[in-house]
């Protein structure tokens, strides 16, 4: 693929605007709350678009297009089953506690609800995980642009890290959110024409149905048995593993996305944030998965060969190269670049918040001035970017180390939702119950992994093993938490006001017209998701 001057002009325009946003927001960063949570004054439509964009990184866009080519419409389960129900739940049921408790981060909520050791466990694992994710994102970006355009890996890593550092250093979370919204529109304008061009070229939906293997254009009809579909999973693994444990664990407890809602201007805006995000989220499959399916139909199989094996990861860049002329190619490449950079920025801003509030403020220096914590946030931003660059070079040199690190952290994530669910909806859940439940759930995930490795569990695909592992980890965490809680002392009810469902004053929506209430939006989102599942069943 070769870029013309016009393509570089579009990329340069984007970089100039991104840096401009950072500088323009510099004077708004007066307090630590401004820097870490945008002063809690962002309107719902912006936090909603940032909420979805924080999850719409280039790895997601390219990975879902690749899965579209590999599994067909089954991939849409990651959206219509693996995201929408959880987004409705976090908006309606969990946001009143996150936002209402005035917690500045998810680990801080755990401290308020449980105790210091549960918060420390979550804060430390989350901080390390965000740096790893940021580094892998940076490494993947450099690798993709090396393969697509022949750009130097070192130059790509360093230049993009510098751009991200400048705009997050000056503009904090607001800058990250603003650039995520820019990225959302760039993805839409950069990829939508490609989706239309490729799907019409493939003969429309009927053309895809006729030319793809049987079952690739259906979501539910082949899930009776794991052997009947290309994913190698059955309906229970999909619904319980992906649709419940993994998706609720990510959308309801990951501070990277929850932070966007905490920046909203009031409780209603915070509740609407994931619900507004769910509306465009439902249509992302038509933007990335369906073009991936079209790539399978339109491109010769030799185009996907990497070292003699079929690899669909470059499906989207290959389509860009085939169907976009110079000019539009620049817009498409800029969309990918934007989603890589904002993916990194999102991780860095989540890291600097957790580091400053949950680690530095809690364990290193408790009684400093607000200006000191603002300064520490900026230092943490520089540190986060430098650590991300280091992680990118580790990924570049030692692929296996990064794989194992990610695997270890997946053990930690799987049971987390059980802790939050019991913490928010059962006032009898005790701090010790939460901590030992979380630890035993993590141990269960590790045990399941090693048992599978040694042939005690046999699965048709790695995805099926991952879904089952999540189910085991969640169940162990859930029941151990209950078991330990029954025999240990809970916190007093006076301490739990605003943190637990039964002890929190219910939010009144009387001042809002029915059409503007979060519940109305949730019903609309839920109905559209059901209709989409039905149409493509």
């Amino acid at each position: 693929m070769h870029l013309e001057w016009i393509d570089y002009a579009v990329i340069a325009l984007y970089c100039a605007f991104v840096l401009g946003v950072g500088f323009a927001l510099k004077k708004s960063m007066r307090t630590s709350l401004d820097f870490f949570l945008s002063g809690r004054r962002i309107p719902a439509w912006i936090t909603g678009l940032a909420f979805i964009s924080a999850n719409l990184g280039a790895l997601e866009v390219m990975g879902m297009a690749a899965s579209g080519a590999k599994y067909g419409m089954l991939t849409s389960h990651f959206y219509w089953l693996g995201a929408i129900p959880a987004m409705i739940f976090v908006g309606l049921c969990m946001m009143p506690f996150y936002y209402g408790s005035r917690a500045r981060s998810v680990p801080e909520y755990l401290r308020l609800r449980f105790d210091e050791k549960t918060r420390a466990f979550n804060a430390l694992t989350f901080a390390v995980m965000t740096i790893l994710a940021s580094g892998i994102n940076l490494y993947a970006m450099a690798l993709v642009f090396k393969l697509m355009l022949g750009w130097s890996i070192h130059a790509t890593i360093l230049l993009s890290a510098i751009v991200v550092l400048i705009y997050t250093f000056f503009g904090g979370l607001t800058s990250s959110i603003y650039n995520e919204v820019l990225q959302f529109f760039l993805i839409v304008f950069g990829i939508l024409p490609l989706a239309v061009l490729t799907v019409t070229k493939a003969g429309g939906w009927s053309g895809l149905e006729a030319r793809m293997p049987p079952g690739f254009t259906h979501m539910w009809s082949n899930l009776g048995q794991a052997t009947a579909n290309p994913m190698g999973v059955d309906w229970f693994q999909l619904v319980a593993g992906l649709g419940f444990v993994l998706s609720f664990g990510y959308w309801c407890t990951d501070f990277l996305v929850v932070q966007r809602a905490l920046a909203a201007r009031d409780m209603t805006a915070a509740q609407k944030t994931p619900l507004i995000a769910a509306l465009p989220k439902m249509f992302i499959p038509f933007l990335v998965i369906v073009p991936g399916m079209a790539a399978w139909v339109l491109l010769p199989k030799a185009a996907f060969l990497v070292q003699g094996k079929i690899d669909y990861n470059m499906a989207l860049p290959l389509l860009l190269a085939h169907y976009y002329p110079p000019g539009m190619l620049g817009v498409g490449i800029t969309a990918l670049l934007a989603s890589f950079m904002s993916g990194m920025a999102g991780n860095v801003t989540a890291f600097n918040t957790v580091w400053t509030y949950d680690i530095y403020h809690s364990y290193i220096r408790r009684d400093a001035t607000d200006a000191h914590y603002l300064q520490m946030g900026k230092i943490a931003t520089v540190g986060g970017v430098l650590l991300s660059v280091a992680a990118a070079y580790v990924a570049l040199s030692f692929h296996n180390i990064m794989d194992y690190l990610q695997l270890i952290f997946s053990f930690v994530n799987a049971p987390l939702f059980a802790t939050f669910l019991l913490g928010m909806f059962w006032k009898r859940t005790t701090p010790n119950g939460a901590f030992y439940g979380l630890a035993s759930g993590t141990a269960a995930a590790a045990l399941h992994y090693f048992a599978t490795l040694h042939g005690l569990f046999i699965y048709r695909s790695e995805m099926a093993a991952n879904f089952d592992r999540a189910i085991y980890a969640w169940a162990v965490c859930f029941f151990v938490t209950i078991g330990v809680s029954v025999f240990t002392k809970p916190r007093s009810e006076a301490e739990l006001g605003g943190l637990v469902y039964s002890l929190t004053k219910k939010q009144s929506y009387e001042h809002l017209r029915w059409i503007r209430r979060p519940a109305t939006l949730a019903v609309i989102v839920g109905m559209v998701a059901i209709v989409l599942n039905w149409i493509y069943r």
């Binding site: 984007y14 605007f17 061009l197």
Partner: protein, 71 residues
């Protein structure tokens, strides 16, 4: 009404207007054609114009919000 001091519609509007202008002008002078529903179209020209229109709509929204705030 768009939050902090910088209304987000300004950067969105200006960026898309700038990209739209550059891509549209390039489309006017390039011969590249894409096939859509069995017709040849100049995608740079049409989609560049769409991005320009979106950018201008955002700028108009930002100007109106600014006026409302001042009043």
């Amino acid at each position: 009404e768009s939050g902090p001091e910088l209304d987000i519609r300004w950067p969105i509007g200006l960026l898309f207007a700038a990209i739209g202008i550059v891509v549209t002008i390039y489309g006017l002078f390039s011969n590249a054609r894409s096939e859509l529903w069995a017709r040849e179209i100049n995608i740079n020209l049409w989609w560049g114009a769409a991005m320009l229109a979106f950018g201008l709509a955002m700028i108009c929204g930002a100007i109106r919000a600014g006026r409302r705030t001042r009043n």
